[in-house]
């Protein structure tokens, strides 16, 4: 059986170190922002930063950028299904108080 050349280009060392540095910087940022009172936006900012960090890990460390479309679909599907679980469950909790308010 012929052994093919390996696929996937090799990222430069600078790229990996750069992403690492960015991740540490974002961690520092999210800790600092927690000390600022943004009201309901604290959680939003925290989750946005976490998502940026997660995307960096997924795209660069996990090579999602270079992976097939199917792999990308799998990654997105996982988030989408989690979203279904969270949002449809919350339709119950969010709306429970509504009927009592009608009285």
């Amino acid at each position: 059986m012929a052994a093919p050349a390996h696929t996937g280009h090799i990222g430069s060392l600078k790229l990996y170190l750069g992403i690492w540095g960015l991740l540490l910087l974002l961690t520092f940022t999210t800790v600092m922002v927690a000390f600022v009172d943004l009201g309901p936006f604290n959680i939003v900012v925290a989750l946005v930063i976490a998502t940026i960090k997660g995307s960096l890990v997924a795209l660069f460390f996990m090579h999602l950028r270079e992976s097939s479309k199917m792999t990308m679909i799998v990654a997105v599907a996982s988030l989408f299904w989690l979203f279904i679980l969270l949002s449809l469950t919350m339709t119950d909790y969010v709306s429970r108080a509504w009927s009592t308010r009608l009285h």
């Binding site: 199917m70 599907a77 449809l88 469950t89 339709t91 119950d92 709306s95 509504w98 009927s99």
Partner: protein, 543 residues
């Protein structure tokens, strides 16, 4: 004429290696399917034993055959075994494992060792579950509602939950294997549009397995943690919400019913087209309907909770979504019917079971619409109406599809034909027995008989007796195939490669197939179910 012991000379997956180690350490998907066949059949009879005890107890209104507590354990264990250890793995692990690599033109599934691991994990789960059962059982129902399961029940909740947790991983591994196989292992020319619908259905079921099972895994883990350590997130006395458990439980357990039925629908698609000698009507629609069922099935779970205390607005949303999920199922039923229209119908046993499936699944499915209707559900929730509904789709539907598939692929799997006369009789007994058992339960439920009660008001007795009588007929209908299938292994007529004149890659291999499936990787140049262009001379059975 074939003699009683006619051995097949050439190498096949059954005779390539002898000895128990060659079976217990096999990575051949066909042998693993057989390992599953034995385990799942055993679990079916254990679950059936519990069903028999339930029906016997319900012969009298006072229900004194067993105590109330024992009765609670009986229906719990019947449900757990039948759902998690029989229905969910049945078609995928037995038929799917065997047939899918053949259908896509591959030598094996993508991950053969993971496949073997999935069987061992299943066996471990089954052993844990059965141990919990023989050492005292569990009485929470297969639904494990909190806080009864976490706080108040005095039975082996953790053991029972652990067994299911373990078996869930078997399901996840099977699902992973199927998804990756169907994506990556198709032979040249086997495009998505040429895939047998059985593959589409199992693919859709595998998606659900992979997306849903982890949620019940974590939920049961949380139940065990809460029960064992008193860490309460489901116990209202500790600030928790019991409905959160129900949300998480049903997020999996509703799609689970589609894990159960989709592979069965795949079997029916294969059989209807073969025994009508016609291409499936609307192939793309049937394929996409499978995916639609898988996706929509995740959006409807709270229809199990309409009277549990969720907000009425959420209930409205889930009710509407539940109507939607019926549509792709209906599409499939219409398409099967249209396939048969002006087809050349043969009434062999697989087709008889397929007819039964289509009729009974439709009835079960329609009664599901009644249950999705809030106003009706308020009255029939937790009554025998619900019990009848899900037995129509699961037994009248799914178990019939499993029997249909076993009969259809039996010649391929074993190289032997089963006796057609006895098979037809069994199919008839199953149909009559099933309807006699479960139709009265629709009436009972509508009249108000609650489920999960060991006793009932005397006016319900006649229908209960009728139901139990039906169950005994049904049991005979299931025992007979056990006997004649075993008989056929030694005395059945040797089967040709394609006894049904079916179109499909699996029918192009010998019966039984060689270990490596194909001598050369097939190249597919024909469309799915190309019955119009099938060559005329094919070896037929027994003539």
């Amino acid at each position: 004429m074939a003699t009683a012991v006619q051995t097949v000379e050439r190498e096949n997956y059954l005779n390539s290696n002898y000895g128990i180690k060659s079976w217990l350490l096999t990575t051949d998907h066909k042998r693993i399917a057989m390992l599953y066949l034995v385990s799942i059949t055993a679990m079916f009879w254990i679950g059936g034993f519990f069903a028999m005890m339930i029906r016997l107890n319900l012969l009298t209104p006072s229900g004194e055959l067993v105590t109330a507590d024992t009765y609670n354990k009986l229906f719990s264990m019947h449900g757990i075994i039948m759902v998690f250890f029989f229905l969910i793995p049945s078609v995928p692990a037995v038929i799917g494992n065997f047939v899918i690599p053949l259908m896509v033109g591959a030598k094996d599934l993508a991950f053969p060792r993971v496949n073997l691991l999935s069987w061992y994990v299943y066996m471990l789960g089954a052993c844990v579950e059965l141990t919990a059962m023989v050492t005292g059982g569990v009485d929470t129902g297969w639904t494990f509602y909190t806080p009864f399961s976490t706080t108040y029940s005095n039975t082996h909740v953790i053991g029972a939950a652990l067994g299911i947790f373990i078996a869930g991983f078997s399901s996840i591994l099977t699902g992973l294997n199927f998804i990756v196989t169907i994506h990556r292992m198709r032979a040249p020319g086997m495009t998505w549009r040429r895939l047998p619908l059985f593959c589409w259905s199992n693919y859709a079921a595998a998606l659900i397995m992979v997306l849903g099972t982890p949620v019940i895994a974590i939920t049961l883990l949380l139940v065990a943690v809460e029960r064992g350590l008193g860490i309460g997130i489901f116990n209202p006395q500790l600030g928790g919400d019991p409905l959160l458990f129900q949300h998480l439980f049903w997020f999996y357990s509703h799609p689970a019913v589609y894990i159960m039925i989709l592979p069965g629908m795949g079997v029916i698609s294969e059989i209807v087209t073969c025994f009508s000698r016609k291409r499936v009507f609307g192939y793309e629609f049937v394929a996409l309907a499978s995916i639609a069922i898988a996706v929509l099935g995740f959006l409807v779970w709270a229809h199990h909770m309409f009277v549990a205390g969720i907000s009425v607005y959420a209930a409205l949303v889930f009710s509407m979504l539940s109507y939607l999920v019926a549509i792709p199922s209906a599409v499939k039923v219409f398409n099967w019917t249209a396939t048969m229209y002006k087809g050349s119908i043969r009434y062999d046993t697989p087709m008889l079971y397929a007819f039964g499936f289509i009729g009974l699944f439709t009835m079960g499915g329609l009664t599901g619409i009644f249950l999705a209707t809030l106003g009706i559900d308020v009255h029939v929730h937790d009554t025998y109406f619900v019990v009848a509904h899900f037995h129509y789709v699961m037994v009248g539907g799914m178990v019939m599809a499993y029997m249909a598939g076993l009969h259809f692929w039996w010649p391929k799997i074993t190289g032997r034909m089963y006796p057609e006369g006895w098979a037809k009789l069994s199919a008839l007994l199953v149909f009559v027995g099933f309807n006699t058992t479960f139709f009265p339960q629709f009436v009972l439920g509508y009249m108000g008989m609650p489920r999960r009660y060991h006793a009932y008001p005397p006016e319900f007795q006649v229908l209960n007796v009728l139901s139990t009588a039906g169950a005994s007929i049904l049991a005979v209908g299931y025992v007979l195939p056990m006997i004649y299938f075993l008989w056929s292994l030694r005395y059945g007529e040797p089967a040709p490669p394609n006894p049904w004149n079916a179109v499909g890659l699996e029918w192009m291999t010998p019966s039984p197939p060689p270990t490596h499936n194909f001598d050369e990787t097939p190249v597919v140049t024909w469309e799915a179910y190309d019955y119009e262009h099938q060559p005329q001379e094919e070896v037929t059975v027994g003539h």
